[in-house]
Symmetry: C2
Subunit: 403 residues, 2 copies
């Protein structure tokens, strides 16, 4: 018998309880053991829940129960969740989480703690919701030197951009619709300003390249600056605007990581990822390009990933999973300044002047463009180069084009 | 030190040697041990190969070397490969393979043999080339009751269909081009008639649903019957014609599996999978839909998957991987007759007559269609139902529409 506790009975926590119950027989068969949900910790009361008997309010009950093997943390944030995770690991309980903020900010120390106490810290659900990505990255692609990871990592912003592209809604209208549909929070900052995507690319970068990358090391630009004009210009050449989290291997063990809107060519499979779906493309020196696609959020998809981690641990409670990464450092992450790419520019400028300043350009058209506005794609160059060329211009938008 | 041998120094075998060499340091780090390529078995001589010292012709050398841990079988086929795999497993050596024919026809017995002799039989590379799919299916999606698996499983046919769609080549022209580019064999039967896709869907079905599914249980239709007319009609409503391998869970532990060309709606991510790329979509009761995408063949991508299996085994040589399935049976696989779907029909018939026979239809148009030809989409119904309705008509093509 393997005993499990859930911390936080919100969307994901209740989804985990549901999956453990609904698929219980099947899961026990796969673990070759009996998995039993023993506790749910929440400050609230749930007298009508089918799990009402399991609720406790005092975390110490879990800490002191020698029978308890696995703690599922779905509280979120990096305060109480950090405290409980630390105490669980110190008590030798393995912890499974969907909490990207905690992993992105404290992953290294928590992984160390797990190793010291002979237990595991797994977080497949922290990136891409239900999409299997972290385990494939560390096991299925283990024969590869990984070159880069590029992801549509946030379903809310992808939904907003999709509605702008397909329905012609403005950013504000699309955001309001996403909020009405429950795809965006009342305070949408974490999503639309790219912080959520930033945490996820930190975790992917750490796993792909082996050292902790902190959110404050990763330049992050959200989608508030993307306009319907940009969407229309991109569409005129079959490109889609997507918010991408990117991490690229650099010489001497360095990493380049950032989050920003990009123009994605239609033939790139990332261009076809719509609505709340996420996708992560990985390039390795043997495998070439591979992509993982699915629902990046939601109760049951996320619970599916959490429970997969629970099953993995339950199959072998004492296995040393070596699934971690080494310590980060302030000089680990280098700027994207040297990264060459084509650029999309929308500015108040004549075509002639644009050509004069930027050299060879590909002019874009949209119906209803006012006189004096030009949008164009440039030849590949670095960010300092394009910014230098655009000096003095009234630039509305400047986005990279994904190669 | 973990000792590895490669059987068959063809495209995949030499790719495995290359990956083990190129990424050797990194791989040793991930295994936390030294991986050493000790033998290569091939009937041919390779005096100029950098691995010339490793070649042996007598398999018994491997069988009798107590130091040898892992045998990589990249011979292909189900004769010598079966003999060598059987002998290796009986000698307690774990075997890793990319050989879909062998796994699809003898997987159950070889998995049993591996278990009996305390070693492993792994075959991630047998489906989807480099794409991580088998391990994600059995571990990352372990919390799910799987409902169905749908894949573009053969790169050659996908290349041919892509060229028909994008360049307007006929099937014969596209096949000739694929052969010229090395994407199709001189004898293209296994690919274009769907046998390769059939073997792969057998492996996916067995893993997803837990019992061996044999190729001769799976109705298989290739792409020789797909015409440029069909491609044009499909395109008129934004659909793509794709060869799909499908496996669906049925009541009472039964499985429905088949291979056939389908019309795929443009918004389905499988529609965007082009050229030699493969993709496998999986539906689970918790995760919903998830898709895995990448190169389905090729030297290094396939080698990447093979070496990932080698690394998995090398990390823990004696682990019981339980990665298998149970015995199949003649009544396991049920026909697709009861599977309801919309249908694409191209026939020599008037629109009125088509409507009279098939009820509500959606007529399709293409430029240059001769008088008397009609193509249309039907309402959802079973195969016996549509065949009944089409009785007496001169039907050119009849394909399912993927829901």
């Amino acid at each position: 018998m393997v005993h499990v506790a859930i911390l936080g009975f919100g969307t994901v926590g209740s989804g985990v309880a549901e999956v453990l119950t609904t698929n219980g027989g099947l899961i026990d068969g796969r673990v070759n053991n009996q998995l039993r949900l023993k506790y749910i910790v929440d400050v609230r009361d749930f007298p009508d829940s089918p799990y009402a008997d399991l609720f406790v309010k005092d975390f110490a009950v879990l800490e002191n129960d020698p029978e308890l093997d696995i703690v599922v943390e779905t509280i979120g944030g990096a305060t109480i969740a950090l405290d409980f995770t630390t105490r669980a690991l110190k008590a030798g309980k393995s912890v499974v989480t969907s909490n990207k903020e905690l992993v992105a900010t404290h992953g290294y120390e928590l992984l160390q703690l797990a190793r010291e106490h002979g237990c595991s810290y797994l977080f497949e659900a922290s990136v891409g919701g239900g999409i299997p990505i972290l385990r494939p990255l560390s096991s299925c692609l283990a024969a590869n030197e990984l070159e880069q990871v590029t992801g549509i990592l946030n379903g809310t912003t992808n939904y907003i951009l999709t509605r702008m592209i397909r329905a012609g809604l403005t950013f504000d209208q699309a955001l309001a619709e996403a909020q009405a549909n429950g795809y965006a929070e009342k305070d949408p900052t974490a999503d639309v300003d790219g912080h959520d995507a930033c945490r996820k690319i930190c975790i992917l970068a750490a796993l792909a390249f082996g050292r902790h990358v902190y959110p404050d090391q990763v330049p992050t630009q959200g989608i508030r600056g993307v306009t319907l004009e940009d969407v229309a210009y991109a569409d005129s050449v079959g490109y889609k605007i997507k918010l991408l989290g990117r991490a690229l291997r650099q010489p001497e063990g360095k990493v380049c990581a950032f989050v920003a809107p990009h123009l994605v060519p239609g033939e790139n499979p990332l261009a076809g990822v719509e609505d709340v779906f996420n996708a992560i493309a990985v390039t390795g020196n043997a495998i070439g390009d591979v992509m993982f696609y699915g629902r990046g959020a939601g109760k049951l998809p996320t619970a599916s990933a959490v429970v997969a981690d629970v099953i993995d641990i339950a199959k072998d409670l004492k296995k040393d999973r070596h699934n971690g990464w080494e310590e980060g450092s302030p000089d680990l992450v280098v700027s994207a300044d040297s990264l060459v790419s084509a650029w999309y520019v929308r500015a108040q400028v004549s075509a002639d002047q644009a050509r004069k300043q930027c050299g060879e350009i590909h002019l874009l058209a949209r119906s209803g463009a006012p006189a004096g506005e030009a949008a164009f794609l440039t030849a590949p160059m670095t960010q300092p180069e394009i910014q230098d060329k655009l000096a003095g211009l009234d630039v509305g938008s400047l986005f990279r084009v994904l190669a």
